[in-house]
């Protein structure tokens, strides 16, 4: 789960990391009021969960009420990479002499947290990582001990941060690590961490992504998350239903249980000449209602021309799946898109017996089911 910039900054500021003066606004008057409080120049920054906001026109530096009004009118309500901008952060513009990158994330390959510092901040750090990997100093952290003070210093000095600010940057990094652990972060980043002419450091941006599996013990963050929710309408719906769902741009809707098997179904659709409309994993042990919801999801996608339902039961039971499919489809006068069903594993025979074969096409094997769904999609497109 990704916090908005303004939320992450609040979390950072509460922990003692210096951040610029700022205020959130959702209309022009709010922007002007905030700018007056803070004093020009200010930055007006769209609060949406997309990368490259600046390049896409979501951030503007303004020096007067007139400029602020113009920028606010343009940005609030704009469509930024598919997301509607509802709020902007009005923020003190900070004069800086240097821009650093400071981050903490999980190195999944090592199974360890890693702290990173670079003097090449202010730009896309993934590009730096690719083009000039040595420009990012890294230090793995033993999660049992936590980050030791010497480790914060080490990564800061190794990155070549100026000695005049090294202690402060190490302090910011230590705080960032503590936040990352105490808030169950998956990534915590400051890019740029600005260095001013009088050797102060200030977090000009803030990224805080939270491990969704840990939200149960992060009630405050979970509450922020409700505000932070964003993305595609269908993906929001999937969040509500609690599905692992990814929208793609093909025409074959895909529902299955277990990520590996669903991915394999996508791959087979492609293999047999079709194109997947989505990834939808109902998870393990899905009951009838969940199956109904899954079909509802896929039918809601206008791109979908056919649906393939592939369940290999382990803890998921074929009879429950069949019941859910029946319930979902019996609600329609006319089935919106042809549905191909393949059931295997636990209780698949019971499922087959229950399944209303007037409403769906049944196939015995995965290959046959996928091929049939691709054919239906081709017919639908034609």
């Amino acid at each position: 789960m990704k916090l908005h910039e303004y939320q992450a900054k609040q979390v950072f500021a509460d922990a003692g990391i210096p951040t610029p003066d700022s205020a959130l606004a959702s209309d022009v008057d709010g922007v002007l009021e905030a700018a007056a409080d803070i004093g020009y120049p200010v930055a007006i920054k769209a609060q949406v969960q997309v990368g490259g906001r600046g390049k896409a026109g979501g951030i503007e530096l303004v020096e007067s009420d007139e400029e602020a009004r113009e920028a606010a009118e343009r940005i609030i309500g704009m469509d930024l990479k598919g997301i509607h901008v509802e709020r902007v952060l009005v923020e003190e513009a900070v004069d800086f002499t240097n821009e650093l990158y400071v981050g903490v994330t999980m190195d999944r390959g090592e199974g360890k947290p890693v702290a990173m510092v670079s003097t090449k901040g202010g730009v896309n750090i993934e590009e730096v990582a690719e083009e000039d990997p040595d420009a990012i100093a890294r230090e793995h952290i033993d999660p049992s001990f936590g980050m030791q003070p010497y480790q914060a210093r080490k990564v800061v000095f190794d990155a070549g941060v100026d000695r005049a600010v090294a202690t402060d940057v190490a302090g910011v990094l230590s705080t960032l690590y503590d936040l990352w652990t105490s808030k169950d972060g998956s990534d915590a980043e400051i890019n740029p961490l600005m260095v001013t002419a009088d050797d102060e450091v200030i977090a000009a941006d803030a990224v805080m992504n939270i491990d969704e599996d840990a939200l149960f013990r992060q009630p405050e963050i979970a509450e922020m998350g409700e505000e932070a929710a964003g993305g595609d309408e269908l993906e929001q719906k999937a969040d509500e239903y609690g599905f692992d769902y990814v929208r793609l741009d093909g025409s074959v809707g895909i529902i299955g249980n277990g990520a590996g098997l669903v991915m394999t179904t996508l791959d087979l659709v492609d293999y047999y000449g079709g194109s997947p409309a989505n990834f939808l994993d109902v998870g393990g042990g899905a009951k009838a209602e969940r199956i109904t919801n899954a079909l509802d999801m896929v039918f809601s996608d206008d791109n979908v021309d056919s649906v393939v339902f592939n369940i290999f039961g382990g803890i998921t039971r074929g009879d429950e799946v069949a019941k859910g499919i029946n319930e979902a489809l019996e609600a329609f006068d006319e089935i919106p898109k042809p549905v191909v069903v393949r059931l295997a594993g636990t209780n698949w025979e019971e499922g087959m017996e229950i399944l209303n074969e007037d409403l769906v096409t049944v196939e015995q094997t995965l290959e046959d089911a996928v091929q049939r769904s691709v054919e239906y999609a081709e017919e639908g497109e034609a």
């Binding site: 999980m106 360890k112 692992d244 590996g260 669903v262 991915m263 791959d267 393990g284 382990g314 594993g345």
Partner: protein, 289 residues
């Protein structure tokens, strides 16, 4: 023969009094697994389907001489349950639980360097030696005893592949679901090493998926250390970069590694044929045996 578990494995079920734990303990026993104890704090002295319950894993292990545990404990408490299992003389702990916070697993990962107990999972279907013992939630009826060792990151994909094998009369020595989380215990390399050491395993099927670099490392390991023929499968060829596909591990960073292509190339370079479909995997295995 088999790897890691067999008919003599004495199993303690952590969380045996919960819904999942009780159900699957029953399923395991029905399959023939030697479930000797349960461990649930505060429920010591009770019995579940004739299995004695202890307050701590340590007591269960000591009293019933258990050598493996299966963990059905909700995610909030599962990290602690794994720690508890690793702090005993158990040979193997199998964590079925899905959704354990990653930072809990990072701490478990550190602890794993300090214990002789092997962890399988979490977020895995478990392990089965067909006809002997099953630890976890795998549907026992699709497996058959035989010569193929199977290791997979995905549960239901395992079933799909096993089903294809069993339908052709190809049985399995042992099938190992290592789990799809970013931080897991036993990985491909560990499982491959176990199968390589097993004289009865005539071929190995390895089912990977996009994300991480475990398959690439496994390919290198196969090239260097594995003489047993290996057949591969990689799920997620069509996954777009940067999207998370269900498993926390199945995210493609778009930076060259972790993609299906890089994994398939690495396996091919190690002499491992990679099937385009589960049936092709079965074809390859059939041609080897």
């Amino acid at each position: 023969m088999s790897v890691l578990v067999d008919e003599d494995t004495r199993v303690v079920v952590q969380g045996i009094t919960g819904g999942e734990g009780k159900f699957h303990a029953g399923q395991m026993m029905e399959y023939g697994t030697n479930v000797v104890a349960g461990a649930v704090p505060g429920k010591g002295g009770q019995e579940v389907d004739g299995v004695p319950v202890y307050d701590t894993v340590d007591q269960a292990v000591r009293e019933e001489d258990a050598d493996a545990s299966v963990i059905f404990v909700p995610p909030a408490f599962a990290g602690d349950a794994i720690f508890e299992a690793l702090d005993t003389d158990l040979d193997l702990a199998v964590a079925i639980t899905e959704g354990i916070p990653t930072q809990d697993m990072a701490r478990v990962n550190k602890r794993l360097t300090e214990t002789d107990t092997r962890l399988l999972g979490p977020n895995c279907p478990g392990i089965i030696t067909p006809g002997e013992s099953k630890l976890g939630i795998l549907p026992g009826n699709i497996f058959a005893p035989g010569d193929v060792g199977l290791v997979s990151r995905s549960g239901t994909l395992t079933y799909q592949v096993v089903d294809s094998l069993t339908n052709r009369g190809i049985g399995q020595t042992t099938a190992i679901g290592i789990g799809g989380d970013p931080i897991i215990g036993t990985d491909f390399v560990d499982a491959l090493a176990a199968f390589e050491d097993d004289p009865d395993t005539e071929a190995i099927v390895m089912c990977g998926e996009i994300g991480g670099e475990d398959e690439e490392e496994a390919a290198q390991y196969i090239a260097d250390h594995v003489d047993t023929p290996v057949v591969g499968f990689i799920a997620g060829r069509t996954a777009p970069p940067g999207k998370r596909m269900g498993h926390a591990g199945a995210i493609v960073s778009g930076s060259g590694t972790g993609t299906a292509e890089s994994k398939i190339d690495a396996l091919n370079d190690a002499g491992v044929p990679v099937g385009d479909t589960p049936e092709e995997v079965a074809d390859s295995v059939e041609s080897i045996l």
